[in-house]
């Protein structure tokens, strides 16, 4: 394989033209991913802002009224429903009108006045496990602070710990979500571009023409990689820029480190895409294959759920998931100044994946010759 032989040049130009010649497809490659970044970043919210809560206040003392007041004015609460029976609570929760109910026993105010600890009941809708965990956290925090408040100058309760969140002190969820979503979108576009490339030629019949020509499988793979690499890099940089300037996520890491890792990451995704493409006979197969690969790789990447919580076997499988390494670098580069050694520790697996998959893709194409 010679670099920039006439054949190599012709192949690269052909690949670039077949993706970029049509102005519509040019726009389709850049605009929807950016739009998706914006939409997903707001949609994939981990915050709770509009909760409806039922209150069954059996007490009516000063403290209990203060308590209801506090909850009602909290930022995450949308509306409070006063109820007067257990049955009413059951109904409101069953019909999903409220996410939770607070039951204040008739001894609450007097217990508080006497300096005893108050026992409240919080009933949650178990069907909405995730948001309820967040809601419970919020409520406990408010109620604890009330209990701690020296209404009667009671000295019995004191604050034991103050929570500090490093790297994202205000827990702005977008700081965490946006870089990750950007990375996932880049994955999807580059994987799809490469997965379609050989399958398209095979479906349309031009692949035979290519195999009969003097172009070598290595040249074909390199040529097919170039446009996806180019578009992936442009998109990756745009996503990073959007995160920094649109969502104001602080970027404290190294630009060079991130760019280098991005290049390795896209190469590894290209390799997987081309390997898949070499096996597919039609574009439909390639698209289905892309979905089959993207969904587990996102779910297992640590984007939504920590990798450490997965069973050992899956963690072992996850070693082959390039997105896992890239997300560590990506999120690390944004929020914490990830040390170069850690970046490299996640870079070399990407390099290994890229080398293996690209070689396999070349072998598959050559295999098709025989």
């Amino acid at each position: 394989m010679t670099w920039f032989s006439p054949a190599m040049r012709a192949l690269i130009i052909k690949e670039l033209l077949s993706i970029l010649r049509d102005p519509k497809s040019r726009i389709l490659l850049i605009v929807p991913p950016l739009a998706q970044l914006v939409v997903f970043s707001f949609a994939a919210t981990l915050e709770l802002t509009r909760a409806d809560i039922a209150v069954y206040n059996q007490d009516n003392g000063a403290w209990s009224r203060l308590c209801v007041e506090r909850v009602a004015h909290a930022g995450f609460v949308h509306q409070m429903y006063p109820v007067y029976s257990e049955k009413a609570i059951r109904q409101l929760i069953a019909t999903r009108q409220v996410m939770a109910a607070i039951v204040i026993p008739n001894t609450a105010s007097s217990d508080e006045a006497a300096g005893r600890s108050v026992q409240l009941q919080i009933i949650l809708d178990g069907r909405r496990a995730n948001s309820n965990q967040i809601l419970l956290g919020y409520l406990t925090e408010i109620l604890a602070s009330l209990n701690a408040e020296p209404v009667n100058a009671s000295p019995t309760i004191s604050d034991l710990a103050v929570t500090r969140h490093w790297f994202n002190p205000n827990l702005i969820y977008q700081w965490f979500v946006v870089p990750g979503v950007g990375g996932i979108l880049v994955t999807f576009i580059t994987l799809l571009l490469t997965a379609l490339s050989i399958a398209r030629e095979r479906e349309l019949g031009t692949f035979d023409q290519l195999l009969v020509s003097p172009c070598t499988p290595g040249e074909m793979i390199v040529a097919k990689m170039v446009p996806a690499l180019l578009i992936g890099m442009v998109l990756g940089i745009l996503m990073t820029g959007a995160a920094m300037f649109l969502f104001r996520v602080p970027f404290v890491g190294s630009y060079a480190g991130l760019l280098f890792s991005m290049l390795l990451y896209i190469l590894s995704v290209n390799g997987i895409g081309l390997m898949l493409s070499a096996l597919c006979n039609t574009q439909q197969q390639a698209i289905l294959g892309t979905f089959t690969l993207v969904v587990p790789s996102v779910l297992m990447s640590g984007f939504a759920t920590p990798v450490e919580n997965m069973p050992a076997f899956l963690q072992w499988v996850d070693q082959a998931n390039p997105l896992k390494y890239y997300l560590i670098i990506l999120q690390g580069s944004f929020l914490k100044d990830l040390p170069a050694a850690v970046v490299w520790a996640n870079d070399w697996p990407l390099l290994v994946i890229a080398v293996i998959t690209l070689t396999t893709a070349t072998v598959f194409v050559r295999g098709r010759l025989q």
Binding site: A7, I13, K14, G205, D208, C215
Partner: protein
Amino acid sequence: MNPDHQTEQPPAIEITAVSKHFGTTVALQAISAQVKYGHLTGIVGPDGAGKTTLLRLLAALLTPDNGQILVAGYDSVTAPEQIHAVTGYMPQRFGLYEDLSVLENLNLYAQLRAVPPGEQAALFERLLSFTSLGPFTDRLAGRLSGGMKQKLGLACALMGKPKVLLLDEPGVGVDPVSRQELWRMVQALTTEGMAVIWSTAYLDEAERCESVILLNHGQIAYDGAPSILTKRLQGRCFRLSGFATDRRQLLMHALDLPSVCDGAIQGDSLRVVLRAGHDLAELNQFTQSNAAQIEPIAPRFEDAFIDLLGGGSGGRSALAERFDMIQDLACSPVECHDLTCQFGSFVATDHVTFTIRQGEIFGLLGPNGAGKSTTFRMLCGLLKPTSGEARVMDIDLRHAGSAAKRQIGYMAQKFSLYGLLSVKQNLQFFAGAYGLNTALQRTRIDEMVELFQLSPYLNAEPESLPLGTRQRLALACALMHRPAVLFLDEPTSGVDPLTRREFWTHINGLVRKGVTILVTTHFMEEAEYCDRVALMLQAKVIALDTPDALKRSAVTAEVPDPTMEQAFIHLIQTAQSPQQPV
């Protein structure tokens, strides 16, 4: 048929000034025609002439932009349901479900056509015996041969006892023997009074129709009985034989004569058609100076079509003239020994052996599924043989390096070009892919653009070009690197006869420069251009000889001068007869 009865009956189909556009493409332009009951009417024309559009209009699947279509008295715009009820439509792309058996397909169509359950058994029996598919009712439709698929398609189209039967290219992918059976079936239907429309790109099929609507570029070039059109050429068709000169060179000179409209190679002889209004004087002189014999022969429908289009464009190939003479090769350019390819238990190519000499046109002929594509692909190095070997320029193309592959040209007419690239970008890609340096790329591209008159199309996409131009572009892309061996896979299917003539003029010119050609085709007439033909059937080569020798072997008392097609049918029947119960 009773002629008096026919004149009383209103026409089965009446087309009045119908036009149809798709975007800026004009598919049909102000077409008017009539189709009679009890007649077999051919809609004939090259690909892209508007045949399928017309058929879909008649089936009330499309509505015309202008004009009116009446089918069995119903207007296609206001009464499409009634038209669907009285017509049977067999689309080109096979309307059957490949995963259902023959009987399940019939059941499905019976239900779609709302055949009363009581009548179903009798109808099935009649259709199965009519199509002789009775023994295969349990076989999956996808596993039927091309001919049997078409018969099943026909049975399904006949389900609703239609008055009008529309068949879109039923002859495609069907071997000549099955094609004859289809003709017989359709003729039986017309004698019952059904109006049958048979669309085709094969001009030889047109001759069998009682009436023909000849389409070209969306317009009717001729409407009437084919024999009347052919008769115009009476006395203008001749066979030249017995000459000593190279027949390709002689054809080139003959086509350059001002009085010659068309000419083609026919085995060892030439077939020449005079232009209207010219006498034989020039041709007689030409015959004498080449010590040949001349005799009049019967005209064919294709001659008439070419005459309608104004005749061919001379016999010189400017393309071939630019080629340098290829030196004698030390080895045979293409050879294969016991080439076998097996897919599972299915043998696609079974111990095929032949050697192609330098400067020879070698034809691979056979019905679809006979194994000619598989053989072709193994020779090109696209498919791994199960056993045996294929060598091109004494190397196995599967392991060949770039240098060796640069000596090969490859053109599959349907799939050669990149649709996403413009004409110019396609040329640039192929010039580069075959390793031409920048300066040489520019000269060769300019040369091809000039020779094939591509300059108006340089920025267009190949798909938007007329089929003939697309085919020229594909040939240009395959030849820019001046290959010594050229592989052609059905290079001229669907193109109009003039483009086909031009194509063969180039090929004849290239062969005279020492280029070796391997061509697959299902046009019998194209087989005549070959020096030798390998006829394939059921994975085996059943005959391999010169076209004339093949024809001679098929001479019988009834057919003293068989055509290539008759020879083909004879050879297939002879090859099959030991297995078939008599």
